[in-house]
């Protein structure tokens, strides 16, 4: 065991893992996180807390993780390279470990021009692959980037994101290999809608044997409304929504029902793809749907670790 978190234990025991995303509030209320944590606890093995996602200021990921931890939830702390340099990153990691956080998801971060402070200076001192490598060095060698010693253990279970739909398609697997080489233990992918293309990507992944070296969790975004489907198709970088799904949402009498149905169909197909070790549900502002998804997908009860 590298960190001994619930997520790591579930994945290492070969069980199909379920994680979900918790968006922190644009304010100070701990209750927002606590409510989502209570709601999702029985349905997920770990919960990600986003880090100023889409470059919009929210409660910090580390504090959200601590609030979840207090409820007995295993948190995944997301960390972007956009807002902190190597000094701040390493210091935040030491603090996170001290607070009992073991899972860290390494991301480059959405560019600041997308957010609520578009005139901010982006940091990008490290990129996500260098961040992964840094965390494995901190854990395995107990050394800072500078080479100096860290006092104490740094038990981390290191995650990374990957987008099977980004271009150049053939290169994405090479980049995944690079993340694995850097030390990624698990991958949470961008939302999967086009299952065929994802399956093709997974085929390339398994051909290289990468599924044996890293746990891949497929991203799921339940669609709440037809506007959301169109918005994701047209506006969100890196998300690809096939027209067929948009049409289904347009024709549906009950948008939410249809959205749920689409998610369940996707999960069913994904579970048949070799090499996929779990799902990661990103129900942005619709966390309430997660229990239904997990239950109807037949993923209950969650393993007791």
């Amino acid at each position: 065991m590298k960190a001994g978190t619930s997520l790591e234990k579930v994945l290492e025991s070969g069980k199909f893992a379920v994680t979900a995303e918790v968006g922190p509030p644009r304010g100070t209320a701990a209750s927002v996180i606590q409510r989502k944590g209570e709601l999702l606890r029985p349905y997920c093995d770990a919960l990600n807390v986003t880090d100023n996602q889409t470059a919009i200021v929210r409660m910090s990921s580390v504090s959200g993780c601590v609030l979840l931890k207090q409820l007995g939830v295993d948190p995944v702390m997301q960390m972007v390279c956009r807002d902190r340099n190597r000094i701040a990153i390493q210091s935040d990691i030491l603090g996170a470990v001290a607070l009992g956080i073991g899972n860290i998801l390494c991301l480059s971060g959405d560019y600041q021009s997308f957010g609520d402070h578009p005139t901010a200076k982006g940091v990008f001192d490290l990129d996500s692959i260098q961040l992964i490598q840094l965390l494995s060095q901190m854990r395995d060698e107990k050394k800072f980037l500078s080479g100096e010693n860290i006092s104490g253990e740094v038990p981390l279970f290191i995650g990374a994101a990957e987008n099977p739909y980004a271009d150049p398609f053939e290169y994405r697997v090479l980049r995944l290999a690079k993340k694995v080489k850097a030390g990624a233990d698990f991958i949470q992918t961008q939302a999967i809608f086009d299952v065929g293309k994802f399956a093709k990507w997974m085929e390339m992944v398994t051909e290289r044997g990468l599924d044996k070296e890293v746990h891949i969790l497929a991203g799921i975004i339940p669609i709440r409304a037809v506007g959301m489907a169109r918005y994701m198709r047209d506006k969100v970088p890196g998300v690809s929504v096939p027209d067929g799904i948009v049409t289904r949402m347009e024709d549906a009498k009950e948008a939410r029902e249809e959205g749920l149905k689409i998610s369940l169909e996707i999960i069913e197909q994904i579970m048949d793809i070799p090499g996929v070790h779990g799902i990661h549900i990103m129900a942005v502002n619709w966390e309430d749907i997660v229990p239904a998804i997990v239950e109807k997908a037949g993923l209950l009860p969650r393993p007791l670790i």
Binding site: G122, D127, Q130, A166, D167, P168, L174, K178, A182, G238
Partner: protein
Amino acid sequence: MKTITQQKPFEEIIQFLEREQRVYLIGCGTCATMCQTGGKPEVLEMKGKLEEIGKEVTGWMVISTACDSLTREALEEDIEAVQRADAILVMACAFGVQTVAQYVEKLVYPALNTLLLGHEDSPGHFSRICIQCADCVLAQTGGICPIARCPKNLLNGPCGGSEGGKCEINPDLPCAWHLIIERLTKLGKLDKLEAIVPPKDWSVSFTGSPPPPR
């Protein structure tokens, strides 16, 4: 290659000059002339606009290369008009502005924004090729710079937002990493990207370092 400049909004210039009645204007005969931001026609246009809002322009000149030390001599030639002004408005890149400031005991205001050292593809369209980071990584990237051309400065790109060869932050911007991969693929050298490029030494760059002693 030249210093690419853009005129500041006139409203911003009026704000600088709020308390200055008499203004001397300086343009530059090199980059700002080529960018059409501070050549003779632009200086004369600025003169007209300032006079229209009731300022007195005590004189003007277009210095051949405002960033050069010869600027001192150029200023001497019209020193009387320069001295009569409350302030100097410089329509040159920021090198020019600072050079003028060095030689005249007057408040100096910039009329332009200095964007970059770059390449003008067509009038008004510039590409950022290099930002002089002082720790060049082109050896790892097939001769295409990810520091100047990838907004996230990724050394192990591309990010997950690269789509159809375009950058996620602006569809008019080619994804630098797409270009790098395309080029290395064409050269049969994609294996160059297998190695993880380590964190960069920013201490030597302008974003990371104190200025060198002069």
